[in-house]
């Protein structure tokens, strides 16, 4: 499955049709969700499928319908990005060398805080799903923050697309027709200058 993921990612790089790219991204998310299930993360898998594969794709498609769906070919050599990526990747590989092996039950996260969550959920919360328990109680504030993030994004999208910025009126020029380039050259003529 990991191999599939890789293949998808590489295809995304190669593709120029943004429409296809977006579809592939959705597929990428779905694949990840599948992986999550095999890794025992059912809640996450569900969320990823719904949010990552679903909502995100819808958002992308919406954007595409408002903008354009072709990507221009790159004009410059990707040497610098490659270098950045390779160095970062190398650093990460180096860093993971000393990580506990995959699925190692003796790894620190499973030894230290986690057992108390398990026992605590039983005795203190009384919910069967530990993830929900931690989410809602132990780390409830993260969840509150999460709500804050969604709210922020909502406000942001509303502001950007609807709220002001000259309002919708300016957008009546039609899709793709950019409003006239108005440089802030001579605002000295404003009423305050009178």
């Amino acid at each position: 499955m990991l191999a599939f993921l890789l293949a998808t990612a590489v295809m995304i790089i190669r593709m120029r049709n943004l429409f296809a790219v977006v579809m592939l991204t959705g597929a990428f998310s779905l694949l990840t969700a599948g992986l999550f299930i095999t890794l025992d993360a059912v809640d996450v898998a569900f969320t990823e499928a719904a949010v990552g594969a679903g909502i995100t794709t819808v958002l992308f498609l919406g954007t595409l319908s408002l903008t354009t769906s072709r990507e221009k070919p790159a004009t410059h050599l990707p040497t610098l990005p490659l270098a950045v990526v390779l160095i970062t990747g190398a650093a990460l590989v180096y860093g993971t060398m000393d990580l506990p092996g995959f699925g190692d039950p003796a790894a620190a996260p499973h030894q230290y805080v986690m057992p108390e969550y398990v026992s605590g959920t039983e005795t203190q919360i009384g919910l069967p799903n530990i993830v929900t328990a931690v989410l809602a109680s132990y780390r409830g504030f993260d969840t509150l923050g999460e709500v804050g993030v969604i709210f922020t994004a909502g406000v942001g999208v509303l502001l950007l697309l609807n709220g002001g910025l000259g309002g919708r009126a300016r957008r009546n020029g039609g899709e793709g027709a950019a409003p006239p380039v108005s440089a802030p050259t001579d605002k000295r003529k404003g009423p305050d200058r009178a």
Partner: protein, 506 residues
């Protein structure tokens, strides 16, 4: 009642703006939204001052959210370091909010104003959260709240100049990469320590110093935060974002956002990875020292050639971040105090300067250096504020800039790095050049014929002067700020993770 309020003060500081924000969004009325924001920021400022007093008197405070003890629950930990950061954020927030009434009224359309204030409040809440929390992942969540809202409010500059959009986009890209790097770093640490509480991490990292994971995690967290901090050379998003954002936003973000990122870096460098950690020492010496110096000189030099005053100040900000980085690189208490002092001082002066430029924008509609011609006579109070703020940036005595510079140079002497000391003072001469360019144009060039510019209204001048006067007051009487900064530095330096509650089951 008071006691309960006091006991829950840490969470209230974050929660009140967070919950007030929807209120603004719900009642779509500009004046209402502003009033709510103003009250909330003023209350947050009062609360943060109160908190600072409590911390200075009684030592670090720990607040368990929902009553769950760390490392299971999320903890807010407050010591002198983040208490002072909270004061900066809330204080500048309150001042800029007072300023916003007139400035936003002119720069942003009425329909968008309520949501704009909502976003401002969210940004404030996020920044306060980052500063207050003691949990590494919780920090990420708050960081994202503040970042997302700052992308939005920067983009609001698009009503005046569409380039605000692209700068917000660039910031979003770099900011998200930074945040993701941060998450990767946290993931690595979590994998080896099993905890997300910063103080707890610190305690458990001690045994793991030799692993290869820790340095890499350190690097990722640092790069992530440095992107937010606009540390040279990861500053590319900053000049445009500051230039095209609405005035209020620029002043607010310049004074708070980079400061909070700076704080978070300090927290990780000193509390989570104790400073005697050998890898870190090398990082400080070989990375921070040169980068700090390069930032100071390169960005100041670039600032000299800017024809846009906001951009000029933006580059100067990057240079000032260089000073902060330099202070950290000393690896001694004096240097660290200098950094913390400069976090505070720079917030005052840059905030004041951007507000002064805002007054000019308000009257002339432009932030090009040309718009400043003859303003010395036409807008005497505004320009006087600009001059004093500029002098503080240069670091002349009786201003806050002097105090930071003093400790920065003193730290260099303590370290025996006298060439660095000379470089610091030399770099402030570059500030003389770029500030004086503006001053000369404002005072010694005749105003363009035929246009009369009035002095900015009081509602703009007052907030601006509050910050500028603070520059002078804390420059002449730096005793309290220095004491706080030194306490903060001591606590960062000598007892990482001190006062951690005993690790029993919940």
């Amino acid at each position: 009642m008071i006691a309960a309020l006091k006991a829950h003060l840490p969470i209230l500081l974050v929660a009140v703006p967070l919950f007030a924000a929807p209120l603004c969004a719900l009642f779509r009325h500009p004046l209402f939204a502003w009033t709510v924001s103003m009250l909330v920021t003023a209350a947050a400022f009062a609360g943060s001052l109160c908190l600072l007093a409590m911390v200075m008197a009684g030592g670090p405070l720990s607040y368990y959210l929902g009553g769950w003890a760390p490392p299971w629950g999320i903890e807010f930990r407050l010591d002198a370091v983040n208490a002072i950061i909270l004061v900066i954020v809330a204080g500048v927030g309150a001042v800029t909010m007072a300023y916003a009434r007139a400035s936003v009224g002119q720069e942003i359309s009425r329909a968008a104003q309520p949501l704009f204030y909502t976003a401002m409040l969210l940004c404030l809440a996020g920044l306060m959260g980052v500063a207050a929390t003691g949990d590494a992942f919780n920090l990420f969540v708050f960081l994202e709240i503040s970042s997302l809202s700052s992308y939005v409010i920067i983009a609001m500059g698009a009503e005046r100049d569409k380039r605000a959009l692209t700068s917000a986009y660039t910031y979003l890209m770099m900011g998200t990469i930074g945040a993701t790097f941060y998450v990767i770093g946290i993931g690595l640490i979590y994998t080896v320590t099993g905890t997300l509480n910063m103080a707890d991490m610190a305690a458990r990292i001690g045994e793991l110093e030799q692993t290869r994971t820790i340095p890499v995690a350190f690097a990722f967290i640092l790069v992530g935060l440095a992107l937010k901090l606009a540390m040279y050379p990861l500053h590319l998003w900053l000049p445009n974002a500051y230039t095209y954002a609405p005035t209020v936003v620029t002043a607010f973000l310049a004074a708070t956002s980079t400061k909070v990122a700076g704080y978070a870096s300090l927290r990780f460098i000193y509390t989570v990875f104790a400073a005697d950690f050998a890898f870190e020492e090398r990082t400080l010496l070989f990375l921070f020292l040169p980068l700090g110096l390069v930032a100071m000189f390169a960005s100041s030099a670039v600032a000299i050639f800017q024809s846009d005053v906001k951009r000029l100040l933006a580059y100067s900000s990057i240079a000032q971040v260089g000073y902060m980085v330099l202070g950290v690189s000393y690896g001694n208490v004096t240097g660290l105090s200098a950094t913390i002092l400069h976090l505070f001082n720079h917030a005052l002066m840059k905030g004041g300067l951007f507000l002064a430029v805002g007054c000019v924008i308000f009257r002339t509609g432009s932030h090009s250096i040309d718009a400043f011609r003859g303003l010395g006579r036409q807008m005497p109070w505004t320009m006087a504020a600009f001059v004093i703020g500029g002098l503080a940036l240069i670091g002349l005595p009786a201003t806050v800039g002097f105090v930071s510079k003093w400790y920065l140079v003193l730290g260099a002497f303590e370290r025996g790095w006298w060439p660095v000391a000379l470089l610091i003072v030399a770099s402030s001469l570059l500030a003389v050049i770029y500030i004086w360019r503006v001053v000369e144009i404002a005072y010694l060039q005749p105003a363009p014929a035929g246009v009369a510019v009035k002095e900015a209204p009081l509602s703009l001048l007052l907030p601006c002067w509050v910050l500028i006067l603070a520059c002078v007051v804390f420059g002449v009487y730096a005793d309290p700020t220095v004491t706080i900064a030194e306490t903060a530095a001591q606590s960062l330096f000598f007892d990482p993770g001190a006062g951690l509650p005993p690790m029993d089951g919940p």
